[in-house]
């Protein structure tokens, strides 16, 4: 029976993730979409935790929920007239888009189930949580300052440039 609990949690978070993602892409109210995105990000963080990526789960909550989602909600507030309380947005091309994305989903699922993953070396029918009781945060930290030092530094410079560019872009013309 102990194998049942992870499956229940998996299904719970999968339903929460996909349901809130549906609200994000199909909700009529822009603020509702933003808050549904919060639930999606939390469910993705739960998935990371279930896969043993606890550092990534923390980073997901900190960066996505604390950073990107806040930025998106600021974007909603800066680009809509809040006082008319009617942040409705429309959808268009619903039928062709449903066809295209449904077709993409069907193709992906058929590829996933036809690929013989178990025959690839190193793919194991593994046991989450049993083989790696310890956190892998230490291993990620070591990888970032040894094997991935150059990409790490490039990413930090890119982040700096992107944030400076963003601040530059939204300045008013009179400030230039």
């Amino acid at each position: 029976m102990d194998a049942l609990a992870p499956k229940i949690f998996f299904l719970l978070f999968a339903v929460m993730m996909l349901g809130s993602a549906l609200i994000v892409v199909h909700g009529r109210n822009l603020v509702h979409s933003g808050f549904a995105l919060l639930a999606t990000f939390f469910s993705v963080a739960a998935f990371y935790a279930m896969m043993g990526a606890d550092f990534l789960a923390g980073a997901q909550v900190l960066i996505y929920v604390g950073g990107i989602l806040t930025l998106l909600l600021f974007g909603v507030m800066l680009t809509n007239r809040i006082y008319d309380l009617n942040l409705r947005t429309g959808t268009f091309q619903v039928v062709p888009s449903t066809l295209v994305s449904g077709l993409v989903f069907a193709t992906l699922v058929s590829i996933i189930y036809r690929t013989p993953w178990r025959q690839i070396p190193n793919v194991s029918a593994f046991d989450p949580g049993a083989d790696e009781a310890l956190s892998n945060t230490h291993a990620i930290g070591q990888a970032l300052v040894t094997d991935y030092l150059l990409p790490f530094e490039v990413a930090s410079v890119l982040l700096l440039i992107a944030l400076m560019g963003a601040a530059m872009l939204v300045r008013r013309r009179s400030d230039l």
């Binding site: 194998a3 499956k7 999968a14 996909l18 549906l22 994000v24 892409v25 822009l30 979409s33 933003g34 995105l37 999606t40 993705v44 998935f47 990371y48 990526a53 990534l56 980073a59 997901q60 996505y64 950073g67 990107i68 930025l71 998106l72 974007g75 909603v76 800066l78 680009t79 809509n80 947005t89 959808t91 268009f92 062709p96 888009s97 449903t98 295209v100 994305s101 449904g102 993409v104 989903f105 699922v109 996933i112 993953w117 690839i120 190193n122 989450p128 892998n136 990888a143 991935y148 990409p151 990413a155 890119l158 982040l159 992107a162 560019g165 963003a166 601040a167 872009l169 939204v170 008013r172």
Partner: protein
């Protein structure tokens, strides 16, 4: 325990929902939210393969880089949307059809 395919199918569903959002939404901020969904589905795949198909943490380091790039993308894209709103007084993507402001 949970097989690899389940994670991949959920990630594929999240990707398809994000694609649907990118294709149907008129509001630029909604399109950005849908792009974030696509980033997250790619990250789920990276972490799943790092867990099931490799013995090291390479996939998780890649996912961290994806999160960093997503932060850059969100900042720059929102700056563009805000300056677009100043010019057009709207964030409807159909109206943003000219490169010159």
């Amino acid at each position: 325990m949970i097989p690899l395919e389940w994670y991949l199918v959920v990630a594929a569903a999240l990707f398809s929902l994000g694609l649907y959002g990118v294709l149907t939404r008129k509001n630029a901020i909604n399109v950005l939210m849908s792009i974030e969904l696509i980033f997250n589905s790619a990250n789920i795949n990276l972490v799943a393969f790092s867990r099931f198909a490799a013995t090291d943490t390479d996939g998780q380091v890649f996912a961290l880089f994806v999160i960093a790039i997503a932060a850059c993308e969100a900042a720059v894209a929102l700056a563009i949307v805000v300056s677009l709103y100043r010019i057009l007084k709207s964030v409807n993507l159909d109206e943003a059809s000219a490169l010159k402001g």
